[in-house]
Structures are given as structure tokens and as C-alpha cells.
Symmetry: C2
Subunit: 239 residues, 2 copies
């Protein structure tokens, strides 16, 4: 029934948000002399959102936003050495070992024997490519798509490119906003695998989720069984 | 004879290096009080090369390198407002109108009637996608590949992905290093279309070019005629 099972990468196959959270923690420490923590966090989020249209997703855009926030919150008084430290966070993030999530490797391995697997990931092309290479999982995926956004149009474009119908496609990911809702809007099925901390920007309201009828797993190891149920028409949706 | 004619984008279809040159000029002005121009230029290039392995190509990585250079050359004394100015260069570059080069549109239009056209471009995914959209040329290209590097392996991967042999593939671009040499090393043909100012990093020595037997054009409008000659076996190479 499914021709392609596609996976999100960051926070679905390996830890990613933790790197951003760690960098953000260090960033807040750097500015605590100037402002309270909550205010620094709010300003950074505002500036990130404002910059998204210019810089897109990824470590480099995030770093430029941290630098801008630091300048704005200190009215330009931040010393050069602190800005250098922020750039060093970026280098640390980009060079950090890729920590594959529990159960991922065995699940991917098992599914790859029977299905064509695809990776659909958002962010810096260069960063994503090195992470795929370093994860040791690249070989299980026949197709890899690094995209700048994940909207309904993104998925429709992928269906066209790989000549697959929405009915033949299953998407698995930790972001309801990027991996689940737009896929279901195309008429394809999606599995939500929760990740403990999800970036505020990727969160959707309860209301949006109401009766969407997606599939939800706490552990990616449950995926092969769910796929079997979906193919035999036995899986009730979670919505 | 050719199944796919592929084009580089930056400085082949539209101006790009000029944007970097302009930003670099402004950057040098900013630091002239601290150091002579040639030294600033050399330091920036050094830091860019050092950062390439971390940040990859593109405006955001270039901007982070400018900021690092500014901090290093001023021993951290650069004011926050000047760093903000450097970030503003990035925003200007990313929002700049896409200036399609002379003769490009008519050439692409003419070739698209007879051939499958592909775009193979290097850099920030997000930046490249918005440039393709803003150029008005996106519709002529059946396939678009944004890649992080252009090596022999990159081109071999593309041949596999699109099930094309090197003999059926022609690459057109302004960088001998990225668009010509690796393509010819795969056994495919390549056309070099010169662009007045090419980034130092993309330049190759005369020696490397010696007897490579590539095809060279001063004007992209000569491309349809060259393609005809190549297909009829009449085109002598330029090496």
C-alpha cells in the first residue's frame, strides 16, 4: 500500500532542539547582567521570527539572530569578545556529534527492507547534509530532500517529483505543524512521534489538531506495527 | 544527443558576485580606521576559507565571517552598531533584486523548447530558492538541484538520480572549478561562459586548464549554436 515512507530528521531521527536549547542557555547567561532571562528569551524569539523571511531555518540564521538580539538588548554595548563567543556557539552546534534517538536505527533498518524510505528535512542544506552523513543512517534512505519550508505545496511537489499518489505516501515526524498537518491536508497519512521539547514556532494549538485524525506514537519502535495496521486497514486514528 | 542541459545560476544566469563585492567594499570602509585595505581583504579571505568547512557557501556564512574578521582585526573593539551594520549588509544582499544577465532569458527560452533544462546551484538553499523564484526563469527548468558543493561526486550523483549518462549531459557555467573541471572529469561535456569578476576561491590555475578541452563562450547567446555543433560533432574544443 505505501510506496514511500518519509521521515523528518531533526528531533525525529536524532536530537537537534537540545543543541539550540543549550546555545540559548549560554546566550542568556551572557546577557543576564543587562536583562532578566524571560525578557532575553522573548526578544530572541521575536527577532528570530522577524528574520525567518530573510534567513530561513538553521544554525547560521539562528546565530545572526542571537547577535542582533545581543546588540539590541545592550544598545550596542556588548563587547566584541561576547559576539565572538556567540559565533563559537554556532561552530559548536555545527560540529556536535549527531545523537541518533533510541530505537531509530532498528526501526529504519526493519522498514528499509520492505519500503522505499525518504528523508525530508528543513534547514541549512550544508548542515543537514553533514548530519545525514555523520548519523550513519544515510544509506537506508533512497531519496533525500532538504527543503526550505514544509508546506502543503512542498509535499505536493514531492509527490509529483517522485510520481507517488498521496495514498501511497506516509510521513513520520515530530512536528505537527511541518510533518503532520500539511501532509494530511494533501490527503496523505502522517504519524506524529512526540519529542520532549519542541520549538515554540513548531507548536500548533489544540484547536488545530481537533479531529484531524492523525496517528500518534510515543516511541518510534511502534512504527512497523502501525504501518502493518494501516496497510490492513485496522488502525484507528488518534484525532 | 543531449538529454539534459544544466546551468549554474549565480554569475551564469544572474549577477551575484557583484553583491558580495559591494558588501565587501562597505565592510572595508568600516574598518579602514584600523587597518589598510589590502590587509582587511586578506584577513577576510583567510577567515572565509577557514569557515567554509563549518558554514558552507552563501550569504549567511559570509556574514558570519565578516563579523569574525571585524572582531579579530579590531581586537574586539568594534562597536555593536558596526556589527549591526554588517548584519544589515546580509539583509540587503538577500533582498536585492535578481539581475538576470544579458542574453540569458532568450537563450534559456530557445533551448527549453528542445531540451530538458536543469539548474545546479550551490549555496544557501533558502537564498537560492527565493532567487530562482524572483528571477522569473524558474519555469524553464524542469529540475532544480541546490547542492552544497560541486565535485565529481556531486555530478555523478545527479547522473544516477536522473538516469542520464555523462554523454547525454551538458553543463554550462562561469566557474571552471565548479562547473567545468569536475563535469569533464566525469566524461561529460562542459561550456565555460566567462563572467567579468570571479571569486578568488573559484579560480583555477592556467596549468589545471591546460589541454582540458572544454568549450568556452564570451556570450551565452552563442550557446544554442554551440549545442548544435556539439550534437553534429563539428565543435572543436578550446583547450
Amino acid at each position: 500500500m505505501f510506496d514511500i515512507i518519509a521521515f523528518d530528521a531533526d528531533d525525529t531521527l536524532w536530537h537537534n532542539e537540545t543543541l539550540f536549547t543549550e546555545a540559548q542557555e549560554k546566550f542568556k547567561q551572557l546577557l543576564l547582567d543587562y536583562h532578566p532571562e524571560a525578557w532575553i528569551e522573548q526578544k530572541l524569539y521575536e527577532i528570530e521570527m522577524r528574520n525567518l523571511a530573510h534567513f530561513g531555518y538553521g544554525v547560521k540564521g539562528f546565530t545572526l539572530s542571537m547577535i542582533e538580539t545581543a546588540i539590541e538588548l545592550t544598545e550596542g554595548r556588548i563587547p566584541g569578545s561576547d559576539i565572538q563567543e556567540i559565533i563559537d556557539y554556532a561552530r559548536t552546534m555545527l560540529a556536535a556529534p549527531v545523537q541518533v534517538l533510541d530505537g531509530v536505527k532498528e526501526t529504519i533498518q526493519a522498514l528499509s527492507r520492505q519500503y522505499t524510505l525518504m528523508l525530508i528535512t528543513k534547514g541549512d542544506l550544508f548542515d543537514q547534509e553533514t548530519k545525514i552523513a555523520r548519523s550513519g543512517l544515510g544509506g537506508y534512505f533512497k531519496h533525500i530532500e532538504v527543503v526550505s519550508v514544509k508546506t502543503e505545496a512542498t509535499y505536493r511537489h514531492i509527490f509529483d517529483k517522485y510520481e507517488v499518489t498521496p495514498q501511497q505516501f506516509l510521513m513520520v515526524g515530530n512536528s505537527l505543524k511541518s510533518d503532520v498537518l500539511p501532509v494530511m491536508a494533501c490527503g496523505a497519512q502522517a504519524v506524529y512521534v512526540s519529542y520532549p521539547s519542541t520549538w515554540a514556532h513548531e507548536q500548533v494549538s489544540e484547536r488545530e489538531l481537533w479531529e484531524q485524525g492523525h496517528h500518534e506514537l510515543d516511541d518510534i519502535r511502534q512504527l512497523p506495527e502501525l504501518v502493518r495496521q494501516l496497510e490492513s486497514g485496522q488502525a484507528p486514528s488518534t484525532g
